[in-house]
Symmetry: C2
C-alpha cells in the first residue's frame, strides 16, 4: 500500500522497474510484479535500446551507460552483433553474450549506442556489414549515441556528418575525417546525437541520456541508486591535468593505434563523400 503511494511519481515508478528488474525477491516481498507497476507501459510500448557489441570493445564503455539505461524505462535492451557467440572484450578475460543478431534487432529504436575499443573499433570501422546496420538503424533511431572511440564508428557509418561530437581525447581530432565537428565537453549533444568522451565518461553520458529519455527526476534517482558522487584519488583525467610527460608517454604507446584508426577513418570518409 505504502509502496503504491511512493510510486505515484513517474520517476519513482521508472526506478521501481530498475529495482524489480534487478530483484524478483524485492518485487515478491512487496506483493507486486513488474508488469503490475502503476505506470508500466504495455509490451508494445516498451522502449527499444540497441547497444552494439563487437570483438575487443571496451567493457566499461558499454557497462557504464548500460547500468543507467537498462531497465530505466521498461526498456528492452538488445546487445547486438552478427551472431550470438560470446564476445571477448578488451584485456582481462571478460566475455559477454550478444542477445540479438543484426537481423533480429528491432527496426525502430529509441536508442542506438556504440561503445569504443582499440583494435576492435578499427575493425568495425572497415566492416561493411556493421556500417550498413548502423546506418540503417541510425537513420530511424530516436537517439544515436556513443562513448569513446564509438563516435568514430558512428562517423564511419555516416551518422555524424555535420554533427558536433566528441571521442576519447587521443582520437578526437580524427572526427573531421568522417565529417563530424569536434566539440568541447565530456558529453556532447547535437540534435539527437549524444556522444561521450573516453571510457569513464559513459557514466556522465548515461545520466545525460537517462534525463533526456525519462526526465531529470529519474536521472537523479538513478544517480543516488548508483551512488555517483565521484571522488578520484588522483587528478590526471585529462591531458591538461596529467601534464605533458604522462600525456606524451601515453600518446606514444597509442601511436600505432591512432595511426591505424586514422587510416580507417580516412577510408570511411572517402567512401561517404563518394556515395
Amino acid at each position: 500500500m505504502k509502496r503504491r503511494e511512493f510510486l505515484a511519481g513517474s520517476a519513482a515508478s521508472l526506478i521501481a522497474s530498475v529495482i524489480d528488474g534487478k530483484s524478483s525477491v524485492f518485487a515478491k516481498e512487496n506483493g507486486t510484479q513488474r508488469n503490475e507497476s502503476p505506470q508500466a507501459p504495455s509490451a508494445a510500448g516498451r522502449r527499444q535500446i540497441a547497444m552494439l557489441v563487437y570483438p575487443g570493445f571496451a567493457a566499461l564503455d558499454l557497462v557504464g551507460p548500460h547500468q543507467f539505461v537498462a531497465g530505466l524505462m521498461e526498456a528492452d535492451v538488445h546487445l547486438v552483433w552478427k551472431n550470438k557467440d560470446a564476445i571477448a572484450t578488451g584485456p582481462g578475460n571478460l566475455s559477454i553474450l550478444p542477445t540479438a543478431t543484426f537481423e533480429e534487432c528491432p527496426p525502430d529504436l529509441d536508442l542506438l549506442f556504440v561503445p569504443g575499443g582499440l583494435e576492435g573499433t578499427i575493425a568495425v570501422m572497415r566492416d561493411e556489414k556493421v556500417l550498413s546496420f548502423l546506418s540503417e538503424r541510425g537513420a530511424r533511431a530516436k537517439y544515436v549515441t556513443s562513448v569513446c572511440t564509438g563516435s568514430l564508428v558512428l562517423g564511419a557509418a555516416g551518422l555524424l556528418r555535420g554533427y558536433r561530437a566528441t571521442s576519447h581525447w587521443a582520437f578526437k581530432d580524427l572526427l573531421p575525417l568522417v565529417d563530424a565537428i569536434p566539440a568541447p565537453g565530456r558529453v556532447v549533444e547535437d540534435r539527437n546525437r549524444i556522444t561521450g568522451a573516453g571510457v569513464t565518461s559513459g557514466i556522465d553520458f548515461g545520466l545525460t541520456v537517462s534525463a533526456r529519455m525519462s526526465g531529470a527526476e529519474a536521472a537523479e534517482m538513478l544517480q543516488l541508486l548508483n551512488e555517483y558522487d565521484p571522488d578520484p584519488p588522483f587528478d590526471a583525467g585529462t591531458p591538461a591535468k596529467a601534464g605533458p610527460q604522462t600525456t606524451s608517454q601515453l600518446r606514444n604507446l597509442l601511436a600505432a593505434g591512432i595511426a591505424n584508426t586514422r587510416a580507417a577513418a580516412m577510408a570511411a570518409g572517402k567512401r561517404l563523400r563518394s556515395s
Copy 2:
C-alpha cells in the same frame, strides 16, 4: 626504438601491457609482443586476480574495477563461480562468462574482489559453498576487496571482522551485523582490506587498488587512458545531496531488499560468532 625509451619507466611498461592486451594490432605495429615487454614478469610471476561473479551481480560493480586492474600488472584475471555457465547480471539482458570454477581458482591471490548486487548478494550471503571459498582464499590473499554490497558478502565469509569498511549507502549500517566497522569515505582501506561504496565507486576503488599494487604513476596513467575526469550533470549522488524526498523514495523501494539483506547478515554474523 623510441618506444623502448618510453617503456623505461615502470608505469609506462605496465600501461603498455594494458594497451597491448587490448590490441595485438598495436603490439604488432610496434614490432613487439606482450611477452617481450622490457619489464614483463615471467609467467610464474604474473599477478593472480580473482573476481567473484554470481547470478544477479551488478555488472558495473565488477566492470569498473576490472577496467583498472585487468592487464595493469601482467595479471591473470579469473572470473570465478561454481561453474562456467553464462551468468545473468542485473537488469538489461547482460550475461558474462565465468572463466574459472572455485576449484580452478589459484590458491594464492594478489587480489580477491567481490561485486555487489541486490537479490544476488542475499543468495550468496547464505551460500556455504561461496562463503567457504571466499574465506579460504581471502585468508591467503594479498588484498581482500569489494564494491557496493559485496562488502556484506565478504563480511558473511568472516573476512571483515574488526575491519573498517564501507558499502552502498542504503546497506552500510548492516556492516556491524558481520562484525565490520562502518567507516566514512568512498573507498575505505584498513590494512589489506579495501572496500568501495555503491556501484560507481568502483572507478575510484579501481584507481586506489591500481595505485596500491603498481604505484601512483601507473594509476595516473590509467586515469588518463580512461579519461576519468568526472563531470556529473546532476548532483544527487549521496543521500545528503539528493535530499530527503528522493532518498526516502529510494529507501522505500529498497526496503524489502534491505530487510532480506539484514536477515542474511544477522544469520551470517550468528554463525561467525558461534564457530
